[in-house]
Symmetry: C2
Amino acid sequence: MTTKERIIETAVTLFNEQGTKAVTTNHIAAAMGISPGNLYYHFRNKEEIIRAIYEQMDQEGMDNYQQIIARIPPGSLQAMEETFAMIQRFNWRYRFFKRELTALLLSDPQLQERHVTTHRAMLAVVRHSIENSVAQGILTPMAEEELGLFVEEVWLLTLFWLNYLEVGGEEVNEITLARGNSVVRQAVRCRLTEKGLALMADYLQSSASAVTPR
Amino acid sequence: MTTKERIIETAVTLFNEQGTKAVTTNHIAAAMGISPGNLYYHFRNKEEIIRAIYEQMDQEGMDNYQQIIARIPPGSLQAMEETFAMIQRFNWRYRFFKRELTALLLSDPQLQERHVTTHRAMLAVVRHSIENSVAQGILTPMAEEELGLFVEEVWLLTLFWLNYLEVGGEEVNEITLARGNSVVRQAVRCRLTEKGLALMADYLQSSASAVTPR
């Protein structure tokens, strides 16, 4: 791992533990046992570190998603479930970002602009996946307005489940994250065709009988 | 308005504009044209002001909800729509709280504990309202697990719509807030009975023809 990568990893750990407000670049350098000068060689200030974390996070998210849809066709129930679970693990890894997202974006217009691009890309991914499910006869067809609202519903639930648990004072663990998956699954189930319902029953049975629960 | 109330109002305005991090108690005193000593007489620090804002916010929310259900039976579509619209106005008035909620709660365990009480009370309100709709034959009956997940779905969508707009770089205005209402309405529509669907069609027609759009 390069020094730059180590700075990013250390910053993620400290930000997750204490929030971005309480952590200075000096704290990060001290935790790594390097001099502040060495850190400044890589990042001029905390804002630059946060932006670098954002880029890494974005890249990791997209890579993870590509890996899922390389194995499983998008629009299938399994792809939906695995994508939701992947995003929650991911949100937990970068949880300071989820906790402080609105405030961080409002205080850094460059980051805000960057984030809007990702946000739109994610909405497009959700839409593509839902359209695929409709084409496969899993979800009932929707008019454009209805589809747009449904895409936003699914994305909002996925995006904020971790925050929802935290503001409700709940521990974030396998069980509470799985409950988020159930909320999304139920929202989707409401729009499944007969074929979709049968596939979901099969999928739930096979994942329940698997050794490693998904 | 008492000095104490003016401090709270000024703090809300400044926190909304600049975030809680950038605003000190001295800024608040200066903006009001009072001495820091006068402010300290009422609040020892920023944390105490934030807690007082929380109490006021909580009280206002519950009062607003009581006013709605004194006019309109809970469980009706109109009550649901008006409650959603009320909560969005309310979230906008105290928008710094929505933006920084997770971070504020993590840095103040007393506030966190207080918030969990409100969070549970709100889930109980949503549940009560959904159970009423089922009893009136508007929503299809649900098993306990399904009901629990649906309550959380509706509450999460309501709670985070404002954050969703902000992180997506969208302006918060009548149109974007109304879209949030449409997302929730569509999630509910999926579970309406024949009677519920007919009532929703009537309700949407009457609110569309009213002079003041809801």
